[in-house]
Amino acid sequence: MDLETLLSYPWRIMLPEFVIVITAALLSLLDLFWKEQASRRPLAWIALAGIGLAVLFLVINAGQPVQEILYETFRLDGFASAFKLIFLLGAAIVFLIALDRDFGQQLPYQGEYYYLILTAVLGAMIAASSADLITLFVGIELLSISSYVLVAIRKHNLKANESALKYVISGGIATAVTLFGFSYIYGLTGSTNLFVIQERLSQGVNDGLLPLIALALLVSFVGLTFKLSVVPYHMWAPDVYQGASTPVTAFLSVVSKGAGFALVIRFLMVTLQGMADSEMILWENLAGLLVTVLSVLAALSMIIGNTLAMRQTNLKRLLAYSSIAQAGYLLVPVAAGIALLQTGEVSASNLFHIVLFYLAAYLFMNLGAFALVQLIGKETEDIRGLAGLYRRAPGKALAMTLFLASLAGIPLTAGFVGKYYILMGAVGANLYALAAVMVITTVISYYYYFGLAVQMYMREPEVDQPLTAPSSLNIVLSVCVIGTLLLGLLPNLALDLIQTQFNLLEVFLPYSH
């Protein structure tokens, strides 16, 4: 292959990824030649600039038709662009939380910290826009391995060691399970390309291979639930969220989870789309089975997450259980999507827009809550640390109330609108039982979210000094408040924006030369 053919490929569709790679490489070099004792904070600003540039290229690329390069493994479509925007936004907010000066001083290996976040985001971006099992796997592993190191980075802290050890072991098992499922899918189709798999799976069903296909898809999905932190792979979340430093926890709860959803939706929807055209009874069995499994897992995640959260006294553990429940809510539109795939109505529905909307809402409300945890976490991570926050810092207490109300799903907040859309989606796909579980567990969740609010307004503070935040945390809190309110008050505007800018249904569009 000569240089001319090499340059003739449309490399510009990978520009956001290139920017992140180059920034990460630049940061690692700068970190090497930086003065030993000097603060590494300027590196975080370089990383933020890199993320800004990547967002710019992403937006420029967004309107283009579907394109694939690198032997059709890397794919640019509206679905990938929309999710990548969420990841980059989440990473930028995580950098701002990490810029908190006190946090930086306790942190060894500050430079590594910054570029590992970038490589983790890169993994998420590659996974979101891959049309091939191999790139999908490599992307998710880049994300996972970077996250293991990020959790372990405070290596003299026993809690961090322990949570990293649990994370790497459960992650390793999940990887092996996913790969085992992938190997069967490859064996049944002879290809790693998702669209070829889609074609050959429908042939395979004709040839009577349905049990094997169902097994392969289920095993792969179970492995992938590790990234979503839903049942059956949720038990790592509380330990890891508690042991990791707060910005890393925030990263895991939003970006890593978002990448998991991008992956699961693309993988399941594209491989199963062959059934949309056929009216075979066998496909209906397979779809019915998958919808049942996904609904049960979603329901269990909501029940387990919301009930166990009530008993927690550690703020980060409580938010971990809450994030398991939130992942359960997000799994509902995926189950509904598979149910509608069968009738071919999925292209007329806006289920993917709902997932994206709820993920954006979750980004703002959850990262806002974690920014506050970072602030009070300097004193204690117990929920009593919130006591009397209204007297110590009224503005921050109000902001936290908004985030909690949104996580609980109170009207006029982003979380409420997102949950309403999810419920409508579930009812539209005739998943009434799942919708009922969702409503009931939401009511249960009010208990612990309001428990936190009671601490802030009714309890006496242990230290009665005003609480001041560094400017970077104030910026994060204001951005998150504005985001939560905007998505809550003008949801149609946001949905219209998603619909006009990103055509999420392009995920189904095969690429033609």
Binding site: L133, I134, F137, V138, E141, S144, I145, Y148, V149, A152, K155, H156, L158, K159, N161, E162, S163, A164, L165, K166, V168, I169, G171, G172, I173, T175, A176, V177, L179, F180, F182, S183, Y184, Y186, G187, L188, T189, G190, S191, T192, R200, G204, P238, D239, Q242, G243, N314, R317
Partner: protein
């Protein structure tokens, strides 16, 4: 020629052994080895399918190369984390990792 089902049987057996070991063993080094066993089971699957599958094709062997590389990276990080844990706790037993609240 050995039929494909033998390879698949071997891989399934290895995978189950690895999973059993990873879930029951106390020593973290053994747990990490068991995870390797599970990953190697998938490699056997991929190579067997690449030669004897429904649609024989080179992609399976390419996939294996990727999976070996990624598994090596993952275990390197796992061992590093285990070492950090050992230096603080003076033990490699996973059930003694119980500082965090249950």
């Amino acid at each position: 020629m050995i039929p494909v089902s033998w390879y698949l049987g071997l891989a399934a057996l290895l995978f189950c052994l690895g999973l059993y070991g990873a879930l029951t063993k106390r020593n973290t080094v053994i747990v990490l080895i068991c995870i390797e066993l599970m990953l190697n089971a998938t490699n056997i699957n991929l190579v067997a399918f690449s030669k004897l599958g429904l649609y024989p094709d080179i992609a399976g062997q390419v996939f294996t190369v990727f999976s070996i590389t990624v598994a090596a990276a993952e275990v390197a990080v796992g061992i590093a984390i285990l070492l950090a844990f050992y230096r603080n706790r003076r033990t490699v037993n996973i059930d003694e990792a119980n500082v965090l609240k249950r």
